[in-house]
């Protein structure tokens, strides 16, 4: 016998002890447990400051307030799972509100038509991002930075300042309710239903797999172009939906409003335990992250301190969340090796 195997190898498996397995289980789920605990803590504080926090009304209000961010962050979550990032949703949201505010008219068929067109536009723009990233092998950050600028510019050209008008029926969407739950809550339920369906489809699995290990996914037959078209296309669709929802709340088009959702959408996802390196996390975490960011706003309000504290609190929460999950990640990796 001349040679000993030449591949680098690790040690043979040794089954972990029971406490270690428990620890592993916890560390594995740390990225979702941390935001849950944070939200509970925030709610506890909020609930102790004000009455009626644990009622359906509060849920309806908070969900209505958070829904734009939730929709935008849903797209971002899918992109982050893939291991990318999408800054262009800012431009798409602005453009969506502007088109809606200038084209919807008095309601009825035109509204429906233009709503569909806006969503289609989101899909096309997103797929364009995906195609550029794949075919020219460009960085998602730069490509979507550029398309963000292009979309935001287009929005400004269409409507230089906030304005336009929306049909009154359209704006009544937020005030609708059924079984005590306001329409945004039903929207959220739909969103979660979509997610639990989508993440189990072959495409959903492939997106997560590609973010987890691109090379392995391709070796297993995943097409990079198809995956990026899906990923960024969906992100564009959700940005468009965010824009449509936003107009039901503001009743106007705003060519600059989208930028307020770019980084918060990433923040909500990251607070919710999504890894920027791809493959880890899910929409439930992101939704919790969006609620956390919204409740912070409420808290600042009831504490009757300056609203300027809100960004500070968001930033600190973001850092705590990401530090905690990166530490958990580290010790979980040490557990493994």
């Amino acid at each position: 016998m001349t040679m000993i195997a030449s591949e680098p190898g690790e040690h043979a498996a040794r089954p972990p002890s029971a406490p270690a397995r428990w620890r592993g289980w916890l560390l594995d789920r740390a990225s979702l447990l941390i935001p849950c605990l944070m939200l509970l803590a925030l709610l506890a504080v909020y609930g102790s400051m004000r009455e009626g926090v644990f009622t359906l009304d509060e849920l309806n209000l908070d969900t209505a307030a958070a829904m734009t961010l939730m929709l935008a962050a849903t797209g971002q979550t899918i992109v982050l799972l893939r291991g990318g990032i999408d800054l262009s949703i800012g431009g798409m949201i602005s453009l969506g509100t502007v088109i809606a505010a200038t084209q919807f008219g008095d309601g009825g068929a035109t509204t429906l038509l233009w709503s569909v067109l806006i969503v289609l536009l989101g899909a096309v723009v997103g797929m364009l991002n995906g195609a550029l990233i794949t075919v020219l092998r460009l960085q998602p950050f730069l490509v979507t930075l550029a398309t963000w600028s292009i979309l935001a510019g287009t929005a400004l050209i269409i409507l230089p300042i906030d304005g336009g008008s929306l049909p009154s029926g359209w704006m009544a969407f937020g005030s609708g309710s059924w079984l005590g739950l306001a329409s945004p809550v039903w929207l959220l339920i739909l969103l979660l239903a979509f997610w639990f369906w989508f993440k189990r489809t072959r495409t959903g699995i492939a997106i997560k797999a590609t973010g987890s290990n691109e090379r392995s996914a391709f070796l297993s037959g995943v097409s990079p172009l198809a995956i990026n078209l899906w990923t960024y296309g969906l992100s564009g669709v959700f940005a468009a939906l965010a824009a449509l929802y936003l107009t039901t709340q503001t009743g106007a088009g705003s060519p600059t409003i989208g930028k307020d959702y770019i980084l918060p959408s990433v923040a909500a996802a990251v607070i919710g335990g999504i890894s920027l390196f791809g493959g880890r996390g899910g929409l439930v975490g992101t939704i919790i992250g969006a609620y956390i960011l919204t409740i912070i706003g409420n808290l600042v309000f009831v504490l009757s301190i300056s609203s300027y504290w809100q960004p500070i609190a968001s930033g600190v929460i973001l850092l705590i969340a990401v530090l905690a999950s990166s530490l958990a990640e580290k010790s979980s990796r040490r557990n493994l090796s």
Binding site: A5, E7, P8, A12, T201, S212, S220, G221
Partner: protein, 501 residues
């Protein structure tokens, strides 16, 4: 019985490099067929062609009497050829079952993957082939490398292939799993499948293979019934006649001075209480089966792994917490790392920048780098090591493997460290460069360097090292020198418990 798989005169070139010139392999269904050859003999290219990952330039392949010309892995799999490569194709964040059925998930009417069905099918597959205990719903990243290897095998088997190719599949496995895989290969053959088995371990090959085909330099040189051929013949076929020219004359240049002394070195549970002395002018070999602590030893000495124990360098106690601590000039330690591309070289940067990365301070005056001094260092090293690069500005990643390794050697020598840690420095390198590296090692030893040298190729240790330290389960099993330093004795010490004696 007619041959089920017949590959005739298959050839493949990558740019100017000939990977395969004349590969021929004939194998029947119902047999385990071993494919043997040195690193770089063309085995990998050949099986990648079979698996559809690479397309042949010429030659003909038939499978079950029909022409076999596939363009991608999917097609190969559809025709019943599944391969388990050394590079795993698994997804860390999916479960075991999801990995096994990735891209082929059974779907519900809602087009979602049926998790329960996948788990059951996985459990069934595991039971049918008596797989080692792995939970189908566990996430892959929680598994050890050995378990992942097993999952990769399951992924291939789940497609119920007619031909299963196993490329060094046992290299990451522990003895018990290795036993299982050997048994599995026999069982599959008994079911009428063809198993193509690639391994460096002749012992395994002898136990399970019905026939062997030997590759050398991209061509088939021999094919035998395993029972009718002895090991020496196979080895001679694999090596050709290059043996004598490969290794330089070994003169003992060891002095009495101890360059590196290690006492009670431990790394987690991988390396336990190791004592070792490396002397000036000595090449000390390190041997052991895969994963018995060699890597941890090198990492610990270079400050890349946390370790406990005492280290003395040139007679002085030293604490080495980072590579930066290790690379402290003439009294330091320099490493040729195992993973050339991820640890050794900045592939996109020039040969010059790579060579001098660890010694920028040497040509910095008043805070500014001096291009002339740098050029001198670089030119000298390129000349000394005969690095074949168009110019010092050529990107390191565009060099051949052998020349990349020379750049790493040059980078290490420029640091002036006189204790060198060489981890498998000849892996995947052409024979000519191997010879140059061995000559260089002996020259350096003669000039008073102290060299710690791990190789996965035992022959290298026997022919180049003065003494060989054999590790077994993270402990020093033996130190062999003189007549004792033979492949036979090394393997004995690596595989058989000698501590009791």
């Amino acid at each position: 019985m007619p041959d089920f798989l017949e590959a005739l005169s298959v050839a493949k070139r990558y740019g100017g490099i000939v990977a395969l010139s004349d590969a021929t392999l004939k194998a029947r269904s119902g047999e385990v067929h071993a494919l043997l050859g040195e690193n770089g003999a063309g085995k990998s290219t050949f099986i990648q062609i079979l698996a559809g990952a690479v397309r042949a330039d010429s030659g003909s392949i038939t499978l079950g009497g029909e022409r076999f010309a596939v363009r991608n892995p999917e097609e190969a799999q559809r025709l019943g050829v599944a391969a388990v490569f050394q590079e795993l194709s698994l997804i860390p964040d999916l479960t075991v079952a999801e990995n096994i059925f990735f891209r082929r998930e059974p779907l519900s009417p809602l087009r979602t993957a049926r998790a329960g069905a996948m788990r059951e099918a996985t459990a069934e597959l595991f039971a049918r082939y008596r797989f080692p205990a792995i939970r189908p719903d566990q996430e892959l990243r929680r598994l050890t490398l050995a378990e992942r290897q097993v999952v990769e095998i399951a992924k291939a088997l789940a497609r119920d292939p007619r031909v299963l190719i196993l490329d060094e599949a046992t290299s990451a496995l522990a003895p018990r799993e290795t036993e299982w895989l050997l048994g599995l290969s026999r069982d599959l053959a008994a079911e009428g499948k063809l198993v193509i088995y690639i391994s460096h371990r002749l012992g395994e090959v002898r136990r399970i293979a019905d026939r062997v085909t030997v590759f050398r330099n991209g061509a088939t040189v021999a094919a035998y019934d395993t029972a009718s051929v002895d090991d020496d013949t196979i080895i001679a076929d694999m090596l050709g006649r290059q043996m004598e020219r490969l290794y330089p004359e070994r003169r003992n240049t060891t002095t009495g001075r101890i360059a590196l002394s290690v006492k009670g070195l431990s790394v987690e549970n991988r390396l336990a209480d190791l004592d070792l002395d490396l002397r000036e002018g000595e090449v000390l070999g390190v041997a052991g089966l895969q994963g018995h602590g060699q890597r941890e030893l090198f990492q610990a000495l270079f400050g890349a792994a946390r370790a406990s124990g005492a280290i003395e360098v040139w007679g002085k106690p030293r604490t080495i917490r980072s590579p930066r601590d290790a690379l402290s000039g003439r009294d330091g330690l320099a490493l040729v790392p195992e993973d050339r591309r991820n640890h050794g070289l900045l592939l996109a940067k020039s040969v010059r920048e790579n060579l001098t990365l660890s010694v920028v301070k040497r040509f910095t005056r008043f805070g500014l780098t001096d291009p002339k001094r740098e050029a001198k260092l670089v030119d000298d090293m390129i000349a000394q090591l005969r690095i074949k690069a168009g110019s010092p500005e050529q990107a390191a990643g565009t060099l051949s493997g052998g020349n990349q390794q020379k750049v790493i050697f040059g980078k290490m020598l420029l640091t002036d460290a006189r204790i060198l840690l060489l981890y498998d420095p000849t892996r995947g390198i052409d024979v000519g460069t191997k010879g140059e590296i061995f000559t260089l090692m002996r020259d350096l030893a003669a000039r008073g360097y102290a060299i710690l040298f791990y190789s996965s190729d035992l022959a290298e240790l026997v022919h180049v090292a003065d003494r060989v330290a054999v590790l077994r389960y993270g402990r020093l099993a033996a130190i062999l020198e003189g007549a004792e330093n033979s492949e036979h004795q090394i393997l004995r010490a690596a595989m058989i418990d000698t501590r009791a004696a």
